[in-house]
Symmetry: C2
Subunit: 450 residues, 2 copies
């Protein structure tokens, strides 16, 4: 499957497009998944991509449209009249995909397209979804779902499902609601098939149903679905009325995105880049952190410059500058990362804030003792001066304590302030720790040498 998409395949395709061999192109791509077609299109120039796209039927074309990158999609849709966008694409999409595509358009075009949608219920569903922030449960849910009344029989249900199911790709569960559309429980299709046709739904329903509020953050959604191994999660409003459902495939994207965001932060990249991206994209992603690193380096130079006299007198103090700076940075990143990862995975933790700090302080104390003893012994047995030996190991001790405490505290505080705690693993804090390390080292060695 994967092997189909090779450089040769694409070169062959481009050649066929060049020869205007529509049918042969279609034969090659017909059985491919929309994701694959979207990826192939990124490798073509605009003319070739258009040619290929126009060969697809409306269903496939809509699926592909959902998968192509936002910027390309925007450019493409801008050139089309609203009625074509509505009839050829939007009407073939699920409400969540449709809302995502429409949300990316200019406001004028959004309205125009919504008005051109023939199925008024679909239009209203999409308009409902456009209200929610894209990072919330409301923003990732779909309106399509199968809901049945708790007072119906299995037979009624199966009939109703046939009716409702036309517009839905897959049914994982049937949601059971009362007369006010309040979610009462769920029913698996399997259970429904296995029951006698006259049984009343109320008696079959699983009442332990996890649901999520429409305003919940998408990370919370991901944590619940992951924690409870769910394939679909119902979304309810503040009255408990069923509003939509979120399927696991959308949540997998959320999990991947969140993990990548944290990973990029700790590796010093800005934005979502991959090795396949263009040179300017790759460069742009790298400059901000390096720039902060440069400013940090300059500040470090100023700190050291203000101790020029001592460095001249005792140059061996300079030898251990990289060691102190690197340890400060590393310890800080380690501490922050542990906190960030724990928050991200949503693992529960029954420690209070003060217990957490106490624990981190114990870890820091052990680590600081261990490494300052090691470096003390190294310098001691190399017969370095006692001043240097003490300066380095004492500084290392204090630096590790400081960097650990900051590293733990800052993401916890950010999280309390509803700011992404992953910021703590980013350039500001690391650079600050480096500089703090240098200042402590210089102060201590100055004190000891004078």
């Amino acid at each position: 499957m994967k092997s189909e998409l090779t450089r040769e395949f694409i070169d062959n395709l481009i050649a066929l497009i060049g020869e205007n061999s529509g049918q042969e192109v279609l034969d090659l791509i017909e059985d491919l998944h929309a994701t694959d077609i979207a990826e192939i299109m990124e490798e073509l120039n605009l003319e070739e991509a258009k040619y290929l796209y126009m060969l697809l039927d409306e269903e496939k074309a809509s699926d592909v449209l959902v998968e192509i990158p936002e910027d390309d999609r925007k450019r493409f849709l801008k050139a089309l009249p609203p009625e074509i966008i509505a009839s050829r694409f939007i009407e073939h999409m699920n409400s969540d995909d449709a809302a995502d595509v429409i949300a990316d358009m200019e406001e004028d075009l959004q309205e125009a397209v919504l008005q051109e949608i023939k199925d008024k219920e679909q239009a209203s569903d999409i308009a409902d979804l456009l209200v929610y922030d894209e990072d919330t449960a409301g923003g990732i849910m779909a309106k399509e779902l199968v809901a049945v009344n708790e007072n119906w029989t299995v037979q009624n249900c199966l009939k109703e499902i046939s009716k409702q199911a036309e517009n839905i790709d897959e049914i994982y569960y049937v949601y059971v609601v009362d007369d006010d559309f309040i979610l009462k429980g769920l029913l698996s299709l399997k259970k429904l098939i296995l029951q006698p046709t006259q049984a009343i739904i109320k008696n079959l329903v699983t009442e332990e149903v996890h649901s999520v509020s429409i305003n919940a953050d998408q990370e919370e959604v991901a944590q619940i679905m992951e924690r409870y191994d769910m394939v679909a999660l119902p979304v309810v409003d503040q009255l408990g009325r069923l509003q939509g459902r979120i399927t696991i495939d959308d949540v997998v994207d959320v999990i991947r995105e969140e993990a990548e965001k944290d990973y990029q932060m700790v590796s010093g990249l800005v934005g979502d880049v991959e090795s396949g991206d263009k040179v300017w994209q790759l460069t742009r992603a790298r400059i901000p952190w390096l720039f902060i690193g440069l400013l940090g380096g300059i500040t470090g130079a100023l700190v050291l410059g203000s101790h020029e006299e001592s460095l001249k007198k005792i140059p061996e103090v300079a030898f251990f500058i990289p060691l102190i700076a690197a340890m400060a940075g590393n310890v800080g990143v380690q501490s922050s990362s542990i906190v960030v990862q724990s928050i991200a995975s949503g693992s529960r933790d029954f420690d209070s804030m003060s217990q957490k700090l106490l624990k981190e302080l114990s870890v820091a104390l052990i680590t600081a003792l261990l490494f300052s003893t090691l470096i003390f012994n190294y310098n001691f047995f190399r017969d370095e001066s006692m001043n240097l030996t003490l300066s380095v190991s004492l500084s290392l001790f204090i630096v590790i304590l400081f960097a650990s405490t900051f590293g733990t505290l800052i993401p916890l505080v950010l999280n309390k302030l509803k700011i992404d705690p992953a910021l703590a693993t980013g350039p500001f804090i690391t650079t600050m720790n480096d500089i703090l390390g240098l200042i402590i080292y210089m102060l201590i060695s100055n004190a000891l040498y004078n």
Copy 2:
């Protein structure tokens, strides 16, 4: 839901257990998901946990057993006779969970438990699964699935499904096979319900079915399911015969695990730690990288020590040591992370190895030019000596080029050698880049000053 599990809830539970109020404890935990109960048990001491566990019915007790951490489970099962393990726990589990639990036992116990399983088909399924490496498709798949022959009618199918479905939690798809059990396609339950009962399966089946080989790596499985938004993926042997299915909930765990592994590597942690872990676990996870960092720092000190005379003469060279070392480390990590993330997300990329390097070299050149110009101007306008100004900017230029190239090349090479490319973002390479940076800086400044 989440709010139920608070410190107060647990303290209340412990009090009730202390009073021996079994029914009241059961009332509190009965409706909780197995994941939650397992987590609560971790907060109890061994006696309390046992008391609570014994209150659960066999079904729930088995679910909880799957969720508790490996070490605790091992200790718990060691104390039980094989027939109890088989009848009270294993027989209530899906084959994949059962195989995971049994795989963790001592070999003698494994055999004994397998022999005690009354359902011989289940025992044989589990034994089959025990053969596969736990990181492969075979290792994470379950044997439970619903398969129907392509020549049957819808009515036959529904009957067969009722029969097969008894042992299966959820059915997402019905797999269609030929007489040799070769996978021919799939059928959604929805489609089956909506069809006339006399229709022949062959005519309803979706032929575009993605499957995965039983020896495929679990990362590949995750990439396919993620890429094609799949809820269940069929697993086939080399002849194309259907062997099992992998459900998305297991793959979500794989995605999370792989992302966490890469994250831990780049943040300098060893093993899977969370802020809720014990002090010694947290300390143990941090020592290895810090130790390598310490050795790197010592090597750095030796490098600088071998240039003691120049540092004494021109102490301002020392001021920029932290800048050079930090930039080298940062650039290297950025480059490696981009490669690692691209490999992990399985995104296709049609560039050849030499194209990748050429691209990275362009990025490195732009970045190197930009930052060496910036630092040149900084020193120039501060009226530093031309020797220092040139040393720092020229060194920075070369260091960025080197670190980028290594950073890109090393994970690519590791990946070719089937070694986890994330190692390149770990301590060795970062430390190496730091030291390399120092050496380049010292050599260049020595050359320019003499």
